[in-house]
Symmetry: D3
Subunit: 317 residues, 6 copies
């Protein structure tokens, strides 16, 4: 870099020549066609019902990439054969939230149109990004099935506050972007939803696995059931992960924390398994607010989620 031996760009980390950090294989996008996994940030959180700093999560998650390596000792598998493009963040408007959501839709649509073999990992932002994200995904990919991990249905009415982090799945269903039969919600939690909206998702044929199901059944079994249902009905599957599906003790940095959630281990098992499914062609992680987290724990968990998703993908190869 510099002509002086010991002079490096600021913040250069310690390098061990025999270790590849995950951050080492995530490269700034070279403006060439993207084949395989890439990362896009959607730093929108002004759309949240409660005060949220979730727009800062793309930065903290990327920072957590340097805390982990590319080697799965459990699979004896090196992920460094993947080359991952980081496309950067979609720039949000300061005062026009609806326009920001539209920028997400438009930008992703354009990317998908010109990069047909691109498998996106979208870093939110709050859950409101899900609607434009899946709308763009579906326009490009055909019939979309969605596996949603969330403590909440997220099908609030649109009258009380517009398109917020509480409404994405309502927008998706009502616009017929996805069909209720092709939506599976996992981790829905006691005392975190209302009967009205439970009925709403039922009436649309959405499949719901509550935390009671998660406590009593094996997660891969439920996912198999979901995959079986969608078989033949969808062209691709998109995984939507609202990190508040995880218990407050293990994901303390979500806006809406509480007890009674999924363990991080169960989530990791699920994500790895979903990674193994060839039809799973998109992943988003939303609702991490780094300003209220403890030591970026929740962003570190997000980095692990991505790594295990790739580990699943590596099992296919």
């Amino acid at each position: 870099m510099s002509s002086f031996q010991y002079l490096k760009p600021t913040g250069s980390p310690f390098v061990d020549r025999h270790v590849t950090r995950f951050s080492d294989i995530v490269k700034p996008w070279n403006e060439q066609e993207i084949v395989g996994v890439g990362i896009v940030g959607a730093p929108l959180s002004k759309s949240s019902i409660s005060h949220s700093g979730a727009h800062l999560a793309p930065s903290t998650i990327r920072k957590a990439f340097s805390a982990f390596t590319t080697y799965s000792i459990e699979d004896d598998c090196e992920l460094s054969s993947f080359e991952i493009q980081d496309l950067g963040d979609i720039v949000m408007h300061v005062t026009d939230i609806v326009h920001s959501q539209d920028r997400i839709y438009k930008t992703l649509s354009e990317i998908y149109a010109t990069n047909r073999k691109f498998l996106p990992i979208i870093l939110g932002g709050d859950n409101s990004i899900t609607y434009p994200s899946i709308k763009a995904f579906s326009k490009a990919k055909g019939r979309v099935g969605v596996i949603q991990f969330d403590a909440h249905h997220d099908v609030r009415n649109l009258e009380d506050g517009g398109t917020t982090n509480g409404t994405p799945f309502r927008s998706l269903l009502e616009s017929n972007t996805i069909l209720g039969e092709n939506l599976v919600q996992i981790g829905i939690r006691d005392f975190s939803n209302s009967k009205f909206y439970r009925k709403y998702v039922d009436s649309h044929g959405v499949t719901v696995f509550t935390m009671k199901n998660v406590r009593e059944r094996r997660i891969t079994e439920m996912i198999d059931e979901a995959l079986q249902m969608m078989k033949g009905q969808v062209d691709v599957i998109y995984v939507s992960l609202d990190m508040d599906v995880v218990d407050q003790a293990e994901a303390p940095g979500c806006p809406a924390i509480g007890p009674g959630g999924m363990s991080a281990a169960t989530l990791i098992e699920a994500i790895t398994y979903l990674g193994e499914q060839p039809k799973v062609q998109g992943l988003e992680i939303v609702e991490i607010d780094p300003t209220v987290d403890f030591r970026d724990m929740t962003s570190r968990l997000a980095a692990h989620v991505i790594l295990h998703f790739l580990k699943g993908k590596a099992r296919i190869k």
Copy 2:
């Protein structure tokens, strides 16, 4: 409220017309006879051996009521049929701790005397409130059995510091307010008690389930055993929950935190099951210090405890 469309009392939260928050069904007491569940705060913590802000917990727990809804998706049950009266807090004296404890006794006694069908949920405060609380309860209700969740026996001698948060069960036993045979302690933890006091509770016939028992047996089975023992011996059962029974990772806001505790899930299972028992007619939650908690996690757990207690009660109806 106001004659101007957009003007509301300060701090008005976002309202979704199809969601009932738990806070929506907890009403300030209307000074009529209370039938069913009601809430009373006992904000005393100057009686604690170590520095404690537990007197602030009634406020933070009530604040957590607005973070959760009244709908149990697991039972498909709406708690909004319950109407819960919030009687407010018992006012503590600034410098006379013993008088504060007496105010708790007197106020609860008077309430019970005039509200025979009132099922109290008492929010501490520290564990010293347990003695006046159960004394008043027992005066009104007859023979009382107690299921205590706690890492500690709480039967310290009274000479070394008076009636503190370490002594309530000694006071109850020595005053014959409750009999040792009708006291069941669950969650007693290694290296958190002394042999002397273990012998003391044994000599009074108290039943002790240690954390070893909790790890090895099913919690509902131990509770069944306890209920069986008390059958015919007591008129009502009072549940005393010292939140430090839960592990430090899941209840980080208790004064005396440590590893080796009960999981929040086990506690919730136990409380729900106890709620189902018609004889269980009182619940208290103590030893949450919001000034050392992380994001009110422990108060949020307390709100879940209350919701699951009500869910248990709803199963009876």
Copy 3:
């Protein structure tokens, strides 16, 4: 309140019968015509360029009212003769920021129309509320002069982000709501503005007192100069206080903190003096973000600002 001697609504503070707290004389609005000083919250901060929790400031400032009394020992003056109405907060839309700003304009306009003798104290929120607030004020009151305390000019262009907390004075000038000659900016700071915008305000005839002026001259002298200039030109004067005019050591809870600012003592002196001027008929306090403050220090300073403004008003009587 309650029929039981020691039972009070939760959170009831200690009462000394011989002390009036400021919070004691701030009453929820009784829906009658308001004569004199009243408070309105404008909890908008999604309009901020950087992540801001300024919408929470109306709550923390009101909470600070209970930390102070109504007695000025320096003037030997009791403010309890004032009765202050708290009108509450204007409700913000979740996703439509421009509509939120319009709600501020409309609500204040309606209030001013029906309460001609009302002297408003507006609690922001971020600085974007200034445009709708002064627009409504000016519609009701005639020609308005503005004394602005701020480290920044706040006349950014509107193309780069819409009507943000960086643009209110541009909107006011360009809409001719106020004339540049009737705008006085005090406390403008080195390395916190650009030459382009300095020229912009100059070209509009705005009077600027930089921090160099503040360090070298007496604050009341500069205010006298300002008042002299506006004499005959304006019907009323509105004081706009962006708390970041104060140095970071004394107002640590503003989004844009830095060294080189005004001392709190100088600000208090200025505000008291402005309170004494009969033409000063409005005050707003903006840009306090309680989520990054230390022990609500900046909100406590805001409460002192209000108290000294009233002390100034009391000197007129």
Copy 4:
């Protein structure tokens, strides 16, 4: 200490052979008669009206002793000729606050009785320790004059909460322990007291210097005025320092913080000057709550106060 060269008691600090830390000259009391300055902790804060951890201040202030040296470069004076005895803390009762206050009175009385040449520095604890402390002091030393630094009069009525941190000077006046003419209050602050209590202290002939006086006059001049008044009226003078007399920006760790206070520099100047007065034979520092402080700043200031008091004393020698 140990027979192994590099083995030391835990937490042993770095030692520079040419530097004496203040902690080096503060020795645990050797149970011999104490001649000169000594330190006693009075860790009582359950007597506080608001939640306070002031009982922890004796520890944090002592810890701050090791952050500073014994050399005043301004006076070119070494304090290491002083040998300062640390008598330890008076043990507080867990639940009997009045008894704790009595322990302070009794212990100090006994110490003064057997150590006639002892000049005490008392570390609170909250301001309620002032009454037993000065009562003991006055019993041993004769007519006592008090210079009180405080934002507040501290003469609340005793009915509303007993003998709290708001009442010590009322107790002292009403018990005739000190006469109003011999009490001087410095730093009394706007909007922090009530007219009723201002009249109360006036009626007792107390001298009051408000913050207005402090801003406008030289602090040593006001102290001279106070000393002149007391001349011939008192045998000894006791300095009572409630750290909240200092502005919130410089003493952020007091329970009742606010703007408008004295600067730390003015306080240090005052204390040094008082140290120089032979009649000044006692000093107490109260109302520091380390649990809400920032980096023990306020305890560090307390250590500086003690050092400058000693510097004043050294000037007499």
Copy 5:
């Protein structure tokens, strides 16, 4: 202590005459031969690759000793028959890290030479202390087997940064201080190591149990396997515990936190079981950074680890 009834050394805790705290049986070393368990601090963390305050852990762990008692209710066993010597801390050099490591080696060597029946518990510090510690141990005790709990192999090359907290086991293997066959690594975690170093440990015959093994098998079974392997190969066994083997939710105070780790309960089970093995004659705990911990949780866990290790030892007696 003092001749005045209520005067005690500062910070004296509340004492219940019937409770023995763990801190009560840990005595400063009396300079006599040590028989049995003793404690030595090795407060070195400048050797860490990332910024670490692990040198502060000996203090916080010792402080946690007073939070727990000596009574195991699960075993009905009193540990107070143990008398534990606290030898203090090895003093580190300010700027010569290699010399600091050498001080650890030399001091421990000398201690072991003169105290043949001493069973050391070493409190780090970072993991770099492991090399000098085991080198000294092995010199004194013969062939050493090591059970290492760690998320990481810790066999980095020595060229890239010298002897850091990433290299201890490489140094041990390459110096033949221990043989690869006698090293068992438990808890090695996904995405926290590299393939290169996995091969390195394999090539040395090291036994590795990954977190996958930990999730799927019983911990005592794996330990049995390890003990079986070492049988006849080693004279003594040393347990090296890098606290980051535990999941971030339960050990939040380690420098390198992440999800996917061991539960504290599993660790406690393992340590108790190892304590029961007569050949286990040394224990170290490293990589706790109290400056980033939450409420000293991780140090509290360390205290529990020590208590359960002693509980295991007590089962032998």
Copy 6:
């Protein structure tokens, strides 16, 4: 950057087309000869006597560059004519502190040798970097005069800990790198030094301005005195700023905080004045530990120091 309109590298800030941020004119070094001001980070803090994260300050100071603009409204001066090269950070060795100090010396020496018109601003790191930094500076520039702002002399003996943050000026004096007559220490504080070291600097002819001098005299007058003394004796002047010269209330992020320090305003005045002196050809800022700061306040002050230094330089042009 990207071919998609709204896609930008992560963390791209809001841009106002009419505002130049200071960060905008600080460019990564282009490997050409540097003419004028440039920045070099020296992130060493393992050399500190107490635990310090000062190695993180180069990052936080650079981050603060984006919080301020290039326009001085007080001078009506645009700094954007300056182009500032950021050379990056000198890479520190993990375990060899002395070697790290040598890397600082060597790297700066090489830079100065090939960039004769380079005016360095060095960002520490702790104060130990001063010795290698000035040694390199002096080798390149001839006779060096030093204006040191510091609460401490920093001439500790080298036996007790090596070349730490307490020793740089001793090393400089004893190696004759600078002469005592050409060293001026400003801001030396009471109870923060020892008589022994005061005598040491006196014996070397060092000029000392204590905080008493700073309180009583104008800072520019003392600097004039210093410049007058050095006139003819030195070829260039280097300004060494230990940020702990500033009071704890305004520079809360230094390791050794305390009351009684210089105001930030006085420091800024001094630095601006020094910037105006053509002979002042180097500036370093040390002893900021961002891990204990509040909201990067101290790093923000550092950014202001640099801006005002440049403002001084701009006055020369």
